[in-house]
């Protein structure tokens, strides 16, 4: 970890406009939770729909995309990454530091709101709040690494990432059982189910598959990001 890289990353990530965007999704999630609780009470099916489909299936991947790519993408796009690359810094340290900032930001804007949503919907009566919070946390860690690596690899990271989140995770992953084996969402559900019980949170994959999948994605994506930064050429006007 390099504190100066972390500070510069946080400045970019939490700039005024971006911070406003980051607040919108959790605010919508909490709003939906309050409305659901007021209109449907503690209905288990509706509550798990809000937590599973909206919090874990939409808010976490979208914020993972915005925050993961935002931790490095803007600096690559505008060329300011050159001020990090012209320093005697290990490139993996740069990638890991940016990842830590992205993960911390996701914790604040996605994981804690998921926990709050669970409490609003179910209180402490079931383990659902804790379970979905664990799922949001591990999914967030994987998405942040994946989209950070994507931002280093491609200038079209947001488009590619959005396609992945919407088409693979939401569409194909929800209906094609084979595709679920390669779904961050299912891996995260498996890990959460392993902690709070599969009767509370179910997954299409086993706990072992989930842990291995998450581990491979996080370690692989961060290794790739560091490796790619070693040969990244900052853009210039000519």
């Amino acid at each position: 970890m390099n504190p100066t890289v972390a500070l510069l990353t946080a400045r970019t990530l939490l700039g005024r406009r971006r911070a406003a965007v980051l607040i919108l999704l959790p605010a919508a999630l909490l709003g939906a939770a309050i409305i659901t609780r007021l209109t449907a009470g503690t209905d288990h099916d509706i509550g798990t729909l809000v937590l599973g489909a909206f919090a874990l299936g939409t808010v976490v991947p979208l914020l993972g995309l915005i925050i993961g790519t935002g931790a490095i993408g803007p600096e690559i796009d505008d060329g300011s990454i050159v001020y990090l690359l012209t320093k005697p810094l290990n490139r993996t340290v740069i990638a890991l530091t940016k990842y830590a900032v992205a993960a911390g930001t996701l914790l604040v804007f996605a994981v804690l709101p998921t926990f709050a949503t669970g409490l609003i919907l179910f209180g402490r009566s079931e383990n659902l709040a804790a379970g979905y919070t664990v799922a949001a946390l591990v999914a967030g860690l994987a998405y942040a690494a994946l989209f950070l690596a994507l931002a280093v690899a491609s200038r079209n990271a947001v488009v590619v990432g959005l396609s992945y989140a919407l088409i693979w995770e939401s569409l194909i992953g929800a209906h094609v059982s084979g595709a679920q084996t390669l779904s961050v969402l299912q891996w995260a559900r498996a890990v959460a189910g392993g902690i709070v019980g599969t009767d509370q949170i179910s997954s299409a994959v086993s706990l072992t598959t989930g842990i291995i999948g998450l581990g491979v994605v996080i370690v692989g994506a961060l290794w790739f990001a560091g490796h790619r930064l070693r040969s990244l050429r900052p853009i210039s006007d000519s």
Binding site: S80, Y83, P88, L89, P234, S236, D237, S238
Partner: protein, 309 residues
């Protein structure tokens, strides 16, 4: 004292050769890298700064390869062409962050010294987004100087600057060169390069076309064959007269195109003799000159001539 050595360096992107078999040494003092847009100057600077692997050949700083060698940045300061910085922080915080990224023992003192060197103390507490182009350029210089590197690389540093800002930056670079640093800057404007650089390297279409001091480069450029298009009341007679006076190496009258006369085409190897002989020949023969247009005075054509020599 540091020396950058390029040994038969080429770099290609797919089928496009951006830098072609360049061998040169850049030593202490100010060196200008001159060439038209698209000549490969930025690619060459990126090769020197360790951002690109040479497709062939090697780039070394004091004998050490620069590619994928992060520690080399202790000895290199780069001023990038792009203006983008971390706009929401002040100049002071930005330069201080750069000092910290270098892990300098006293980053605050180093940042202060660099800001003073570029005379930006008066605006150091303002956010970078409020800076003018010249101020941004100077803060970029401060970030490159903060670790006191022996080598300074600047990519098109004068682009978009007004004359006053340009003069200030030139003074600063001249000081850096006089201090014994190896300073290399790129430009596509000969006048900028010749005012500042004691040593000029001309790059055209990725190739090292010429090098030397500005007088040599200037002479190469003015002694090349010049071409003019001349329109007059009697092009044919005027052409014969110019040839008879020995002021041109060739004249020709291309056929009319779409009813328009393209005018007399003149090629001369002696620019000064031609500009004296043409009006004299016209006056002696009672010919009215309508137009005299240099046909190939673009910088690109000057550079192309240097390459074809």
């Amino acid at each position: 004292m540091s020396v950058l050595e390029l040994d038969r360096v080429s770099r290609w992107f797919g089928d496009v050769v951006a830098v072609n078999d360049i061998t040169m040494q850049i030593g202490p003092g100010v060196t200008g890298l001159l060439g038209p847009n698209g000549a490969g100057k930025s690619t060459l600077i990126h090769l020197m700064a360790g951002f690109l692997a040479p497709s062939a050949g090697s780039v070394r700083l004091d004998g050490e390869p620069v590619w994928q060698h992060e520690q080399i940045y202790r000895r290199i300061g780069l001023v990038p062409e792009r203006e983008a910085m971390y706009d929401s922080i002040s100049g002071w915080k930005f330069v201080l962050a750069n000092a910290r990224l270098h892990r300098l023992p006293d980053p605050a003192a180093a940042a202060q010294a660099a800001i003073e060197a570029v005379q930006m103390g008066h605006a150091q507490d303002r956010d970078l987004r409020t800076y003018s182009k010249g101020m941004k350029q100077r803060i970029k210089m401060a970030t490159a100087l903060v670790h006191n590197p022996p080598v300074l690389l600047l990519d098109e540093p004068f682009n978009g600057m007004d004359p006053r800002q340009r003069a200030q930056l030139m003074d600063l670079l001249a000081q850096m060169g006089a201090q014994g640093r190896t300073v290399l800057f790129s430009s596509h404007v000969l006048e900028e390069v010749e005012r500042l650089a004691s040593d000029i390297r001309v790059l055209v279409a990725g190739r090292h076309a010429a090098s030397g001091d500005y007088r040599q480069i200037r002479r190469l450029m003015t002694e090349r064959p010049h071409r003019y298009t001349v329109r007059s009341s009697d092009d044919r007679t005027l052409g014969a007269a110019v040839i008879a006076q020995g002021a041109a190496s060739g004249v020709w009258l291309p056929p009319a195109r779409n009813g328009a006369e393209p005018g007399l085409q003149v090629q001369t190897g002696d620019y000064a003799a031609f500009v004296r002989a043409l009006p004299r020949a016209a006056r002696e023969r009672g010919i009215t000159l309508y137009e005299v247009i240099p046909a190939d005075e673009s910088l690109e054509s000057v550079f192309s001539y240097l390459v074809s020599r």
